[in-house]
């Protein structure tokens, strides 16, 4: 059937554009591909933070969604009460939330190192409930609007669709952030030290490296990534106390598919799953919120360590 379609297109020659693939208009396919990349960008940034924290510290950070929400609220409140604009918030909100992360690591998480990872999971899960419950108590459930920054208002005409400039910016920002994080961890001396801390912390400490500081910074950095994703999301969705908890489960699935702890795996599977989800929204929309979990189940059966994980 595909051959016949291609044949028909070929017969029309170059002047006739391909209008359909498998009965779906090409414009729709390109549109969904683009939107899938936008959503995938959020998945990639969030799963990257989780992968960094798990890979380098062995902590299953269930509070990741809450830190994402905190990032968005930091941007919103910063704008409302201190007049901090979007661009400043992109830097300040992750810094502030990252600092909270450092405090959490120093005060709470570090007491659980060496215990079953389940303890860390429960602690962060509890933290998430507290953060979300408090935000709900203060700000209610319906949420508030964060304006799109003036310089990113408007849309790009891609011919197959109008892409709001802001969404294009999200893709760009996410790709840059993700690959620089990957570069730092996999290709620099700092990254090598970080990885060494996971392999053999006592030895590294014997070399005079301040391992506790390293771990606190790692956790702070991981949650700062979540907060950055939250700031990026705030002009797109209503900022509310629940915005993180619907995402975090999907993002965990993304991390499992990519391979727990694999940095590159988290980035690539985040982007790819965003696109897969996008196409599901056209082909069978009812399944769009479970497709990621179906893929996760398949990956766990066929390649338990994940697509990019080491056996």
């Amino acid at each position: 059937m595909l051959a016949r379609r291609i044949g028909r297109v070929a017969a029309h020659g170059c002047s006739a554009p391909v209008t359909e693939i498998f009965g779906i208009p090409v414009a729709v396919i390109l549109g969904q591909l683009t939107l899938g990349l936008v959503n995938g960008s959020f998945y990639a940034m969030l799963s990257l933070g989780l992968a960094v924290i798990f890979g380098l510290m062995g902590v299953v950070n269930f509070a990741h969604g809450a830190f994402y929400t905190l990032g968005a609220f930091a941007a919103l409140l910063g704008l409302q009460y201190c007049g901090i604009n979007y661009w400043a918030a992109l830097v300040l909100a992750p810094l502030a939330v990252g600092l909270i992360g450092v405090v959490v690591e120093r005060l709470l998480l570090r007491r659980l190192y060496g215990l079953d990872p389940l303890y860390g999971l429960l602690l962060t899960f509890g933290l998430a409930l507290i953060v979300e419950g408090s935000l709900h108590q203060v700000f209610g459930a319906t949420g508030q609007s964060y304006p799109v920054p003036q310089s990113l208002a408007g849309a790009l005409n891609l011919h197959f669709m109008f892409l709001p400039l802001y969404r294009a910016w999200v893709i760009l920002a996410s790709v840059v952030v993700c690959f620089s994080t990957w570069f730092v961890i996999e290709r620099t001396r700092l990254g090598a030290t970080l990885r060494a801390a996971t392999e053999n912390a006592p030895l590294l400490q014997a070399f005079g490296v301040n391992v506790p500081l390293l771990k606190a910074t790692t956790y702070g950095g991981g949650v700062a990534l979540a907060a950055l994703a939250g700031v990026l999301a705030s002009p797109v969705v209503l900022v509310n106390s629940h915005m993180g908890n619907s995402l975090v489960i999907v993002v965990f699935a993304v991390v499992v598919i990519g391979g727990m702890g694999s940095i590159l795996g988290a980035i690539v599977s985040g982007l790819v799953l965003g696109v897969v989800e996008g196409f599901t929204k056209v082909i069978y929309p009812e399944a769009s919120n479970i497709v990621v979990f179906v893929i996760m189940a398949l990956v766990l059966i066929l390649r338990p360590a994940g697509l990019f994980g080491k056996e």
Partner: protein, 401 residues
């Protein structure tokens, strides 16, 4: 809603994340329960502020009825039918529950209606939209008080079709409420000579609506029918604006609450048609209630919160009239009496349990038309209860066509 591990864990840790105080069954009390979404996506529509409205009604009534103290129990159903139904059962068995007010979520209220029938406890549905509650799922103890999917469609869809929006594409929340709302709107559109081009069913609580919106745009329909509610509604309208879809399609809010418009701001929501049972700025009585409510909650009440106030009063008036809390006697009185308060004038409860009252088709004001805080709607049309809720369908065995 996504299978949220949060909620599961909370449920495992103990369902009673519940502020209500357990009260032993006692005949010296009249017990009113309220089971609602207190912490999820619908928590601002009624939620904790709705409890405040119930308490206001009790205080206005004098705090006692038939010489018995009136107490309120509340619980969070977390949008899970099983939690709602089991809490209702527990209160009916152990706490001497006399009346239950059902908050948001059609699915939960359908489950609770089954309990109402078995336990013979009146259930006033305040928050849910599904018209099936007074049709396939009706019981002798059900009163559907504020609005239903039929009334919403008769209001908003009729207004839009008549103003030229003939072809419709729906963005539908993929559960009982969304599908019932879409069905009701589709029927109205066809009756008025419009046509339904298509629909996409969106899982509840979707993170991103843009894919679905592009499908709507590709359909070439004139009207974007939003058969969803709460955060889903707000996020889909926000994205429709961002993608410029509102330039080519007219959005129709098949269910929107005042709190949604407040979150979206008038810049995004202006021009939108919607249908509501009540608005705080309709007349001196509504404004007086709103002023008292605002003093406590710092927000203007939604139609559900005003409805919860009125429903509580109505029940207490019926109890007083028959001098008993016997469910059958009270229900008989409820179906005889006229309801006159700040919520409605001349409202009445039909044999199938639908409370028939005026509904308002509203249009959201432009920012420059809004003169003071929360000045959001202008009345396009006041519909009589009969026009809004339509005739008895015959699907409920209690009410013949």
């Amino acid at each position: 809603m996504r299978a949220r591990m949060w909620a599961v864990a909370v449920a495992t840790l103990g369902v009673s994340v519940v502020p209500g105080t357990p009260v032993p069954a006692a005949t010296d009390q009249v017990v009113i329960g309220d089971i609602d979404d207190m912490s999820g996506v619908y928590a601002d529509v009624m939620g904790a502020a709705g409890v405040e409205a119930i308490n206001m009604a009790i205080a206005d009534f004098g705090g006692t009825v038939l010489g018995r103290k009136i107490v309120v129990l509340t619980a969070d159903h977390q949008n899970k039918p099983d939690i709602g139904a089991s809490k209702f059962r527990e209160w009916a068995d152990q706490n001497g529950l006399n009346l239950l007010l059902g908050g948001s979520n059609t699915g939960v209220n359908i489950a609770m209606a089954k309990v109402a029938a078995v336990k013979k406890v009146p259930l006033f549905n305040i928050g849910p939209g599904g018209a099936s509650l007074t049709n396939e799922d009706c019981t002798a103890y059900t009163v559907h008080y504020v609005y239903d999917t039929v009334a919403l469609a008769n209001g908003t869809a009729t207004a839009i079709v008549n103003s030229g929006g003939k072809s419709w594409f729906y963005l539908t929340a993929d559960y009982a409420f969304g599908t019932q709302l879409q069905a009701a709107a589709s029927k109205v559109v066809e009756t008025h000579g419009g046509k339904n081009v298509g629909a996409v069913r969106v899982p509840l609580g979707a993170a991103d609506f843009s894919s679905f919106l592009l499908q709507a745009q590709a359909s070439g329909a004139q009207v974007l029918g939003l058969a969803n509610a709460g955060t889903d509604f707000s996020n889909s309208l926000k994205a429709a604006n961002e993608f410029g879809i509102t330039k080519t399609m007219k959005p129709a809010a098949l269910l929107a609450f005042l709190t949604d418009i407040h979150s979206l701001t008038l810049n995004t929501a202006q021009g939108l048609y919607l249908t509501t049972a009540w608005y705080w700025d309709l007349n001196p009585e509504t404004r007086a209630f709103a002023k008292r409510f605002f003093a406590k909650i710092n927000r203007q009440p939604t139609m559900d919160q005003a409805g919860a106030y009125s429903a509580t009063l109505t029940y207490l008036k019926a109890v007083k009239a028959v001098a008993s809390t016997d469910s059958d006697q009270v229900m008989a009185e409820l179906k005889k009496m006229k309801i006159n308060d700040m919520f409605t004038q001349g409202g009445y409860i039909r044999a199938d349990g639908a409370m028939i009252h005026d509904m308002y088709v509203m249009q959201v004001k432009r920012p420059q038309e809004s003169k003071y805080p929360w000045d959001y709607y202008k009345v396009v049309k006041k519909m009589s209860g009969e026009e809004a809720f339509g005739p008895i369908t015959g699907l409920c065995p209690l009410a013949r066509k």
